[in-house]
């Protein structure tokens, strides 16, 4: 419990200033939006990979690679279409979010 709060504060620090509950709920919706393919809470059933528990640095790098085309062909059937629509800051926030899901 205490550890959770500390982690949350650390996360808030890393992200810069969270001014209101809204900053959090914005990320919460953005992350939930990935759920129709990656499963509720990023826990997938079937061939699409899970996002829950992915290392943040790995996650952010993948998003950048989808966008730049470094990850392409059969290893990016659809993700380049999605990654190009989000900002670097949003990659960070989403990476943070999914890394925390057990």
């Amino acid at each position: 419990m205490k550890k959770g709060i500390i982690l949350a504060l650390l996360a808030a620090g890393a992200l810069g200033v969270i001014t209101s509950a809204q900053a959090d709920s914005r990320t919460r919706f953005m992350a939930a939006n990935c759920g129709y393919c990656h499963g509720p809470d990023g826990k997938s059933r079937g061939a699409i990979p899970s996002l829950a528990g992915l290392d943040k640095a790995y996650f952010v790098q993948q998003m950048k690679d989808f966008r730049s085309g470094v990850r392409s062909g059969p290893s990016s059937t659809v993700m380049h279409h999605h990654a190009m629509g989000y900002t670097d800051e949003e990659y960070e926030k989403l990476g943070e979010w999914f890394a925390k899901i057990k």
Binding site: Q22, R28, A32, G35, C37, G39
Partner: protein, 440 residues
């Protein structure tokens, strides 16, 4: 008077989404301790998702869901039933986990809505009060726009545009009973309609079945639109590769600008402006508009009174305050898909949680759509778009980088199957132990 009623309604709907003052005021007393009441009508992709996420994100909100069906039947993958790849059971799932998540589940149909008194009444005669009403009723089919499509005709001619045993199931039986060499006549309604790629996927699925079981048979597509409305290149490529499209042996004949105007179930005929087309099995999807409940609430204000305009930040109707419209019923620049209904369910839940707690919803939401389609030949492909809200233009702007698959592939069929299980799980709250059986 310089301020007419329309402007006033517009201004107040805008204010409700922008600020939260009017939201709080209209929920009088909610700030005191009373739990805010949200009533959701319809538990399809939009309504079920909205209900689950409201409870997940703010358990204090009292959520009531009103839905007459006792099980969820998926339109996505229903075309595979026509191909004989799946049975109805494979696309039918329980509501148990939505029921468990919400405060009240009412197995009934809404027959009246009073947006002044903020109440909803069911066929069974029960009345429910709301602070916020969510209308997620999908579509209403307008049979009266097709001459002869009366109750009697509907026994023979199916639309299968709302999946059910009586629609999808019966259409499959008709295809099975059709002799080899028969003609299947199907139609595509005018845009905007539910699931833009759906009809062309249906042609693939039925062709796959014919190719295997009735190779002398033909499919005639009567399309009200001037051209294939979605993923044209990919569908034409699939029809060409698998079903001889473009040759004189083509199984599929595509006729654009051919809106069905009349049906005759005795002569088994569909009439368009140009001619009468005879079929052994006829599948006409009538024109459609936002669900009847949207008419009851007076929110069918857009596109000549057929669909509902909404504020993208809250999905609140632009004409009636405290009424939110989700999924297919809304007039948006999203395609009418299960993916969008699922996502707008979450968007609306996110906004309601903010508004009902006296905060402002996200003013620049980002949301995505992806529609996968199957060919019936073990392959699939997609179209994907990320939308970002532009407050200045009050528009959802498609971001650069969206698009379609390069080509059909088996890998994308595996992803399409995974998409289906994940969107069903997300919509209905199905646990990790749930066994999905649908194949692509």
């Amino acid at each position: 008077m310089t301020f007419d009623r329309r402007d006033f309604l517009k201004a107040s709907a805008g204010a409700a989404a922008l600020g939260t003052l009017s939201a709080c005021a209209s929920n009088g007393g909610m700030a005191k301790s009373a739990r805010p009441k949200v009533v959701i009508v319809g538990a399809g992709f939009g309504g079920s998702t909205c209900a689950r996420y409201l409870k997940l994100w703010d358990p204090n909100i009292e959520v009531t869901v009103i839905e007459p069906n006792d099980v969820f039947t998926s339109c996505p993958f229903s075309n595979t039933v026509l191909a004989g790849i799946n049975q109805m059971a494979d696309i039918t799932m329980p509501y148990d986990y939505v029921k468990k998540a919400v405060d009240q589940w009412v197995p009934d149909k809404v027959t009246a809505i009073d947006t002044g008194k903020r109440t909803v009444t069911t066929k069974g005669g029960k009345t429910f009060a709301y602070d916020r009403l969510v209308l997620a009723g999908g579509i209403e089919l307008m049979y009266d726009k097709v001459q002869g499509y009366d109750e009697e005709a509907r026994k023979t001619i199916k639309h299968a545009w709302k999946a059910s045993p009586d629609q999808t199931g019966v259409l499959r039986q008709q295809l099975e009973a059709m002799p080899d060499g028969g003609v299947f006549v199907m139609s595509v309604p005018m845009s905007p309609y539910r699931c833009p790629p759906g009809p062309y996927e249906r042609a693939c699925m039925v062709a796959s079945y014919f190719k295997k079981a009735k190779p002398k048979s033909k499919i005639i597509i009567l399309d009200g639109n001037p051209d294939i409305a979605s993923k044209k290149g990919l569908f034409v490529a699939a029809w060409t590769k698998h079903f001889g499209y473009g040759t004189d042996k083509s199984m599929i004949e595509f006729r654009p600008n051919n809106m069905p105007r009349a049906v005759d179930p005795k002569k088994m005929m569909v009439g368009t402006e140009f001619d009468d087309v005879k079929g052994d099995v006829i599948n006409v999807v009538p024109p459609m508009r936002a669900a009847a409940i949207c008419g009851m609430a007076g929110v069918r204000d857009g596109n000549n009174g057929t669909w509902c305009t909404i504020d993208y930040r809250s999905f609140e109707s632009k004409v009636v305050p405290n009424v939110h419209v989700l999924g297919d019923s809304a007039l948006t620049n999203f395609p009418k898909s299960g993916s969008v209904a699922n996502n707008t369910g979450k968007m609306c839940a996110a906004a309601l949680v903010e508004m009902l707690n006296g905060r402002q919803p996200d003013q620049a939401p980002v949301v995505t759509n992806t529609c996968y389609s199957g060919t019936g030949q073990g392959t699939g492909f997609h179209v994907a778009t990320v939308f970002r809200y532009d407050p200045a233009g009050d528009k959802m702007v498609a971001q650069k980088g969206g698009g379609v698959s390069k080509e059909e592939s088996e890998l994308e069929m595996a992803y399409m199957e995974s998409w289906a299980t994940n969107v069903w799980a997300d919509t209905l709250g199905l646990p990790e132990s749930y066994k999905f059986t649908a194949k692509g």
